[in-house]
């Protein structure tokens, strides 16, 4: 990758972003997952780029959407998003939907890579070395574990953040010059929506426990519904929610709505 000289302002923003990117698990919740941390990580960028207060507020709220990936790869996407936001402000070549599509397209695959490398590989190596020392009562094992598994992630986060920004800037520049921004937006949308569909399939579950007893036989409703199409309830749930959100129903209503409905239905044995 070409070496890029960062301006002082860029260095300052990247440094602030790096510290904020440590908050991936703080304020984690099932609705937005890492959305809080992503908004916080983008805050220095918005501070730098947006002079209009109202636009900045709207952008911070936009980055508080659903976000979920591996904690280290999080920084890479944040770096790319920094580059995108900058392009949006300085050249007006990128719009909000493009930024959200690219974020959605990247979070699934990067999560897979991050988990495979850090959680399933590096953690096992670090634990293997650590256990060897610790079983003899040597505290060096704990130190080694933290160094290999913990500090490697901090260093990786720092470099991936910068790499994401550099890559984003050079890549978007070349695309913009060739006038291919609109096809690129659509292409990113294709990957983004496919990944959202895949994540809905694996992460959103409507677990009906409902069985209807007819005489001697009992019918498990979930099996009947799934025999029409597996996961049809998840898709149904998503599109009902999309419809409600487009109608302007607030997320808080949806959160408590789901909570009350499921517990009430669980009382009757439906969930």
């Amino acid at each position: 990758m070409a070496k890029i000289e960062y301006s002082n302002q860029e260095k300052k923003t990247l440094r602030k972003m790096f510290w904020n990117s440590g908050y991936v698990f703080a304020g984690f919740n099932m609705v937005k997952m890492e959305g809080n941390a992503f908004a916080l990580t983008m805050a220095p960028v918005l501070e730098e780029l947006y002079t209009n207060e109202d636009e900045r507020k709207a952008a911070l709220k936009r980055h508080n959407g659903f976000f979920n990936t591996h904690a280290v790869m999080f920084a890479l996407i944040a770096g790319i998003t920094y580059a995108l936001e900058k392009e949006k402000k300085t050249k007006n070549s990128v719009d909000d939907d493009t930024i959200e599509s690219i974020k959605a397209a990247l979070m699934g695959p990067t999560a897979g890579i991050g988990d495979a490398f850090f959680f399933n590989c590096l953690r096992i190596i670090a634990a293997g070395i650590g256990i060897g020392f610790c079983s003899q009562g040597n505290i060096l094992g704990v130190v080694m574990f933290i160094l290999i598994y913990g500090f490697s992630q901090i260093i990786a986060r720092w470099y991936l953040l910068r790499a994401g920004y550099t890559f984003g800037t050079t890549f978007i520049d070349s695309v913009f010059e060739s006038g291919l921004m609109e096809p690129l937006t659509k292409a990113a949308g294709i990957v983004g929506l496919t990944m959202v569909g895949a994540m809905v399939a694996t992460m959103v579950n409507v677990n009906l426990a409902w069985t209807i007893n007819v005489g001697e036989t009992s019918v498990v409703v979930l099996d009947v519904v799934n025999s029409i199409m597996p996961g049809i309830l998840s898709i149904g749930l998503i599109f009902v929610l999309v419809k409600l959100i487009k109608k302007g129903v607030k997320p808080i209503t949806l959160v408590f709505g789901i909570l009350i409905i499921t517990i009430a239905l669980a009382f009757f044995g439906i969930f």
């Binding site: 908050y23 703080a26 304020g27 984690f28 099932m30 609705v31 937005k32 997952m33 959305g35 941390a37 805050a43 900045r56 911070l60 959407g65 659903f66 904690a71 959200e100 599509s101 959605a104 699934g108 988990d115 650590g130 610790c134 505290i139 094992g141 574990f145 933290i146 913990g150 986060r157 060739s178 291919l180 659509k186 292409a187 949308g189 294709i190 983004g192 929506l193 496919t194 990944m195 959202v196 569909g197 895949a198 399939a201 694996t202 959103v204 677990n207 898709i235 749930l237 929610l241 999309v242 487009k246 997320p251 949806l254 789901i258 909570l259 499921t262 239905l265 669980a266 009382f267 969930f271």
Partner: protein
């Protein structure tokens, strides 16, 4: 025992707090947690040795695929605490630790809808644009609120024994637990719905279903789906690129045509 209970709750908050402010899942691993607990309870050596065996036990048990059988971090704290305080051997400590780990796993489930109900609060906070306040409150949440309920339960378990807690969890009606579990699995849908409504586009919306089918019916791993989607996206992009270039050249040709006509 009250003092040791407080120390164990402190160990829990400490390792969880550090992990939450550094994006780590390092200090909550048994090898570190057990050492920290041992140190706080005044027997570092036992903590280190137990950390090794606890890490080996919990190494294969990970959160991938949904339900976690037992919370590794809480189990480690309780195992070390019982070994150091009661003088039990490692096996007994572990036998006592697994029940509290399972209780903690249920508590984590109960806490999920509670924490999810804060999502609209964070959104409002972001809409005010006050990044400093967002950071302070997220720090406070990461250090205390996110994991406080578990710390209280850990304290009660060490100070007053595990049996009472087990009875309490068992006395909760089953429908409350299953309702809460179903709710947290559905709440993730709200986040996805917001995201979908943002990037949905009639031309490409159908790809949502392609992704769903690839994951649900074919059970492909995420990376495989991403590569397939990427292939289609590249094909789409290159076709569009040709169209853009054709349009450019087309207008050029047309203009030269005009010139020749003028010439004649």
């Amino acid at each position: 025992m009250i003092q040791s209970g407080l120390l164990c709750a402190l160990a829990w908050l400490l390792v969880n707090g550090i992990d939450r402010l550094l994006s780590w899942q390092t200090c909550t691993r048994p090898i570190v947690t057990a050492t920290v607990t041992g140190f706080l309870l005044g027997d570092l050596q036992t903590g280190i040795i137990m950390g090794a065996s606890l890490e080996a036990i919990f190494m294969g048990i990970s959160a991938i695929g949904g339900s976690i059988p037992a919370d590794a971090c809480a189990s480690s704290i309780v195992a070390v605490a019982f070994t150091v305080l009661v003088g039990a051997d490692v096996e007994t400590g572990l036998a006592l630790a697994i029940p509290i780990g399972t209780i903690m796993a249920s508590v984590n489930e109960i806490m999920k809808p509670f924490l999810a109900s804060f999502a609209p609060y964070w959104e409002r906070l972001c809409a005010t644009g006050n990044a400093k306040s967002l950071k302070i409150q997220l720090t406070f949440f990461g250090l205390f609120v996110d994991r406080m309920a578990q710390a209280v339960i850990l304290f009660l378990a060490i100070a007053f024994g595990v049996e009472g807690l087990q009875a309490f969890i068992a006395s909760l009606p089953a429908w409350i637990m299953s309702g809460l579990g179903a709710a947290s699995a559905m709440m993730t849908g709200i986040g996805f719905a917001i995201l979908t409504s943002m990037i949905w586009n009639k031309e490409i919306g159908v790809f949502f279903f392609a992704g769903f089918v690839l994951a649900k019916y074919m059970a492909l791993p995420t990376l495989a789906i991403a590569i397939l989607a990427f292939t289609v996206a590249v094909m789409y992009f290159l076709t569009q690129k040709q169209i853009v270039e054709l349009k450019k050249n087309g207008t050029k040709l047309a203009s030269t045509d005009n010139e020749t006509e003028d010439f004649f």
